[in-house]
């Protein structure tokens, strides 16, 4: 079980959280301008990275707030957690430096 540090509540067991998939996918500003390829990219295509992966989590059974994490999907080690709306931390700011 992962130990996840909620930016608002501190470290908590994985059981308290829900997973929200890849982070930083912004809704299109002008939906009517998107063609079918762009919609498919927005709705369905995902990085599915092996390595550092920015993703959304929700502290469902705690503060109930969404936040973001960078996790190494090759080891499940969580490299950073940060508040929604803030940019993804640079590689040098992650746990253990560059990932």
């Amino acid at each position: 079980m992962l130990l996840i540090t909620c930016p608002y509540c501190g470290p908590r067991p994985e059981l308290e959280f829900a997973y929200g998939g890849q982070a930083h996918i912004a809704r299109p500003q002008q939906p009517a301008d998107l063609n079918d390829d762009a919609w498919a990219e927005h709705l369905y295509m995902r990085d599915n990275a092996k390595g550092a992966h920015a993703e959304r989590w929700r502290h469902t059974h705690g503060c109930a707030r969404f936040f973001n994490a960078v996790r190494d999907t090759g080891s499940d080690r969580i490299l950073a957690t940060y508040e929604t709306g803030t940019p993804r931390p640079a590689a040098g700011d992650l746990v253990g430096g560059a990932a």
């Binding site: 994985e14 092996k50 993703e55």
Partner: protein, 417 residues
């Protein structure tokens, strides 16, 4: 190929078992092949077999990063069924089922295919309505499936607890009698042996690190840890690592890779006659011929490539197993493990050409790829050989996500994911 028969078994038995040959070669990779399959699981080995057997393409190689059958082929819970909801899906999975029914004979290899029946339990009014709809849809599509009352379900599977006092009482079940299990290692080995006999090179410990493309954009070869290999046709059958491999050719796919765990008990005498699955309370169970209870459930909640997951997911599964089968409460579990499954948004696979000429993909099987092994292999081979899909896999494109032709099997996938 040394043919297996009752006579060869007897002869070797009488001569101290010293006459058996290796079942496939371990060749050095050649500089060039007519086609290369990336991924030496059941799907990839099977595709190589059908390419050689049905399409006459024998100068081909299967490249496997580790050892054949060491990925999801050796990590699944061996359940086979074809009772999916939509016509596209039931046609696809029943194509595989029909190949399963003759596979041991075709390959001269006992894959221990056992049509012991797959019983999917309903625990809520909603489940009952959905499963009855599935039963009717399957029968319209020519796939066997029948509705059982709780008492009929218990007759079919005597260990089942149908007491009304359960937290999630059994309200009935959908039974596919043609469903069952097969020995998953034997599937990989049987295909490997048969493909090798037709001239296919099976190259293990050979990781693909790059996909080469020529000036027109078409594939021209692969880079591997055992040197470059030239080829004009590449079939990717890499399960959980499909996104990684396809990324080497610049192709993005609608996939997310999740850990799916399974576990087995200590081996015991035969106690369990069939396969029982419950989507609602997250568990499925069967008994292997070795005697172990083979148990699985849903994926972990987050994407990962680690081939492991949280122990609490297994504990949750065992909660459900102990409720359905109270007699197993004191059994000890021997081993647990994870595999990485590539899940599409509509829970249906992709077997298709890609935007890159000469590059073909078989992926997105999520938690249900083993049951489709012969079918997926057969259709990938067809698509690679003819450079166009077979009518059965024609709907299972990448473009369906752009064009809105999703094949939404989220409810038919036996586990929530």
């Amino acid at each position: 190929m040394q043919k297996f028969s009752a006579f060869s078994l007897l002869r070797e038995g009488l001569s101290g078992q010293r006459g058996w040959q290796a079942q496939w070669r371990s060749p050095e990779p050649k500089r060039a092949y007519d086609a290369v399959i990336i991924g030496g699981g059941g799907h990839g080995l099977g595709a190589a077999y059908y390419l050689a057997k049905e399409h006459g393409l024998t100068n081909i190689a299967v490249l496997e990063k580790g050892w054949i059958g060491g990925g999801n082929t050796g990590r699944n819970t061996t359940i086979i069924r074809s009772n999916y909801l939509f016509q596209e899906s039931s046609t696809l999975y029943d194509h595989a089922m029909k190949l399963w029914e003759n596979l041991s004979q075709s390959l001269n290899y006992n894959v221990m295919f056992s049509q012991r029946g797959v019983l999917m339990l309903a625990h809520t009014v909603h489940d009952v309505q959905v499963f009855k709809r599935h039963v009717h849809a399957n029968r319209v599509n020519g796939v066997d499936n029948e509705w059982l009352t709780p008492e009929e379900a218990k007759d079919f599977c005597p260990p089942l607890n149908i007491e009304p006092g359960m937290r999630y009482p059994v309200l009935g079940g959908a039974l596919q009698r043609r469903g069952g299990t097969a020995r998953h290692d034997a599937v990989a080995w049987g295909y490997a042996r048969a493909a090798d006999a037709l001239g296919v090179d099976i190259i293990q410990n050979c990781e693909v690190t790059g996909i080469r493309r020529d000036a027109s954009g078409a594939v021209s070869g692969v880079e591997t840890t055992r040197g470059p290999i030239s080829t004009r046709k590449i079939g990717v059958s890499a399960a959980g690592h499909t996104s990684v491999v396809m990324g080497m050719a610049g192709v993005r796919l609608p996939l997310e890779s999740y850990p799916l765990q399974a576990l087995v008990s200590e081996p015991i005498k035969p106690v369990f006659p069939c396969v029982v699955m419950s989507n609602t309370i997250h568990a499925y169970i069967s008994q292997s011929d070795k005697g172990e209870l083979v148990i699985g459930a849903g994926t972990d909640i987050y994407t990962s490539y680690t081939q492991r997951g949280g122990l609490h997911v297994n504990a949750h599964t065992l909660d459900a197993i102990c409720e359905l089968f109270p007699q197993f409460r004191r059994m000890r579990m021997l081993r647990n493990w994870g595999g990485i499954v590539d899940v599409t948004p509509d829970r249906s696979p992709i077997i298709a050409k890609t935007p890159v000429p000469g590059l073909y993909v078989n992926c997105g099987w999520g938690t249900g790829g083993f049951k489709a092994t012969p079918g997926a292999a057969h259709l990938l081979a067809w698509t690679m050989a003819k450079d166009e899909p077979h009518p059965i896999n024609a709907p299972f494109t990448i473009e369906r996500f752009r064009d809105g032709y999703l094949i939404d099997e989220a409810a038919a996938a036996a586990v929530a994911h």
